[in-house]
Symmetry: C2
Subunit: 398 residues, 2 copies
């Protein structure tokens, strides 16, 4: 059925010379809205944040956004005051493309750090993109491609739902394949919807969804300078601003779109051969469960074991043990791909050959850790760690 | 000049069949003292800790230790009550080798997790080692080899000093090459001295030294179930128990021995091609400086950049930015191998080819981060991250 463009939006993408790796790659995406849109944002918590993060953070939540411009190939990070000016100029160019004022645009950048944006290329890019703006699926896909860096494929997700008799669409795009850690490392996300929603509700629902999705993925635990997820709502579906059960249903659908996009990032992890889902259950609090899941998902020894198809429960259990979360080791249980490896604090006999085969022959790996300390749970997605990841990251300059 | 055995100690090592990787490797070391020795210990803070850690923790500080037995090839971790009984039996065997009582021995184990110790082999090992006990350097080297697992070489360090007209020796051995994270992951250390020192002072000086040495190294950030550093003091040098300036001088020398041993661990890091020293200066507190150094030392992106000889200041500065330590990004400075890459919050022009060449051609890499927030500093040692590390850890079962 494809991915519909929510009503009110147009998109386009062009190559304007920001990426040095070939003219076949799009590197500037422009998205406009035909009316003032609600916008909310969640950003990197890195103290060293890029110029566009500072700009967007100051402008969201908002009820008057008209344009979003995204470039890849250059992060506009660690670029000082000139970087801030360049981000503002990008916003001005994007806003002008649809007759809006400079403060009605948001900016996303990703790519190399510490290099000034070649603004004449950005300007030409926005100029070239403007006449191509359209609301068909091809334009959506092009915009999703224009934000990619080392990703092997674009990432889209959609969910539609009925609110008060109206159908509303939530369609999102994301990029990210490495420098990915909890708190969204080098990850951009843009979620468009035609629902009408207040800025405060948009911000609250987005923050809630991100916490459990984009903030629960890890490729290498490295939080970047540019992480941003935006939700932009045109209101063109014609519904009354969401409230009550409709608002709740919208929040669930938004959560699902964020989850689909978030999971697609480690699934495209650089050099990865496994997408690992870590389920932590039986904790005293969600924070405790997330902390354990995060530590396990970032253990190089756990990740290399999965790469080697080794059902190495010792590395998993010992990683949980240094998460700084109190638990009784005698109550710990562990299953990998559905096979119990560890129960009530002790290893159990299992068919090692079959367990290894199950890891080797499936791209998806499931790690389930249980603690018997309470009812709280968390889920993290991560990758394995392969020699190919190292090769890619030893040779690529970010 | 070699490594002298402190007066009062004898050592031996044998192969008793615990390691499966070949009969040429020693796997059981026995150390005895001809009188009651002072002993102090610092242990893993992992909630999932091995049986010998529980045993030693309960017995230190002590003023009556007579024997230490170390085995490699089996960690006696995640082995429940039977593991505790086996550790106690090991202590009993070691103590009996020098006519001491069962509670006068300490135990160290390292190797595979979750497998019961074959106690008949351990018993035969202690029996075979006993007649070989000697105080020459060859026996010291053998004991240092008997504790190794994936290490490429044994690790010894020595410092002698004069206290009250007496020469005292501090000689230490350590093992560890991976599963190494701050808080001492899969790391064993045994430091022997012939100085006389009270148990309380021994514990205080050892804890202080470990905090700044063994707890400031990282290969993969994975804290193990078995980490232990012991200090055992025979008092056979004949000095009065250390006090005042003598105690302080001893503490400094102990710190130096711990530092030499700690640094030797990442220097022997599995698959590593660089030993990376991270100096963090200008922080508001030592804890803040250590936290930043730890996060940088564990960043897979920083470590792969070093492996690729890439002077990638962006990865280093952005790793510092997510350490959860407040600082003003506009005051950050960075030097790699003495070359300034980043100054007052902005990248500076530098000779990229020369900087890369300097990383490629030197095994030692220096990363100096400065913050201008205060006077506190910290130093971490880590390795680069190579494809060879991944290969070793994807294929080896711990």
């Amino acid at each position: 059925m494809g991915f519909p463009v929510p009503v009110g939006f147009k998109l386009a993408a062009v190559y304007c010379g920001l990426k040095t790796s070939g003219e076949d790659k799009l590197d500037l995406s422009l998205i406009t809205c035909d009316r003032n849109a609600t916008a909310a944002g969640v950003y990197t918590t890195n103290l060293v944040f890029a110029a566009p993060v500072g700009l967007d953070r100051a402008r969201t939540p908002s009820d008057k956004i008209r344009a979003i411009v995204i470039n890849s190939g250059n992060a506009n990070a660690c670029t000082g005051e000139r970087g801030d000016q360049d981000a503002q100029r990008m916003a001005e160019l994007a806003a002008a493309s649809c007759g809006a004022t400079a403060d009605q645009a948001l900016v996303l950048s990703t790519g190399i750090i510490g290099v000034f944006l070649p603004m004449e290329k950005v300007e030409a890019g926005v100029r070239d993109a403007t006449p191509r703006l359209a609301s068909d699926e091809a334009s959506l896909v092009a915009a999703a491609r224009g934000m990619l860096t080392t990703d092997s494929t674009h990432k889209l997700a959609n969910k539609s739902l009925q609110v008060a008799g109206q159908t509303v669409q939530i369609t999102g795009m994301a990029k990210g394949a490495a420098m990915i850690g909890p708190k969204m490392a080098t990850m951009l996300g843009l979620i468009l919807t035609d629902a009408a929603i207040s800025p405060a509700d948009a911000q609250r629902l987005l923050s809630f969804a991100v916490e459990d999705t984009f903030n629960c993925i890890s490729v290498d635990g490295h939080m970047s300078t540019n992480d941003t997820v935006l939700l932009v709502a045109s209101g063109a579906a014609g519904n009354k601003p969401l409230a009550g059960a409709d608002l709740e249903a919208f929040g669930k659908a938004l959560h699902q779109v964020c989850g689909d996009l978030a999971k697609a990032i480690p699934a495209d992890g650089e050099g990865a051969t496994h997408l690992v889902t870590i389920q932590v259950t039986g904790c005293a609090s969600v924070d405790a469960a997330r902390q354990i899941a995060k530590v396990v998902s970032e253990s190089a020894l756990v990740k290399t074991a999965i790469a080697g198809a080794d059902p190495n429960w010792g590395r998993i259990v010992s990683a949980a043990g240094y998460a700084n979360v109190p638990f009784d080791p005698a109550k710990v249980g562990l299953r990998v791909n559905g096979v119990t490896l560890y129960d009530r604090g002790a290893p159990v006999a299992f068919d090692r050959v079959a367990a290894s085969k199950s890891i080797r022959e499936n791209r998806d790996t499931s790690i389930e850790l249980s603690f018997g300390e309470g009812e709280a749970r968390a889920r993290f997605w991560t990758t394995d760690l392969t020699a190919e990841y190292v090769r890619l990251n030893a040779d690529y300059t970010t």
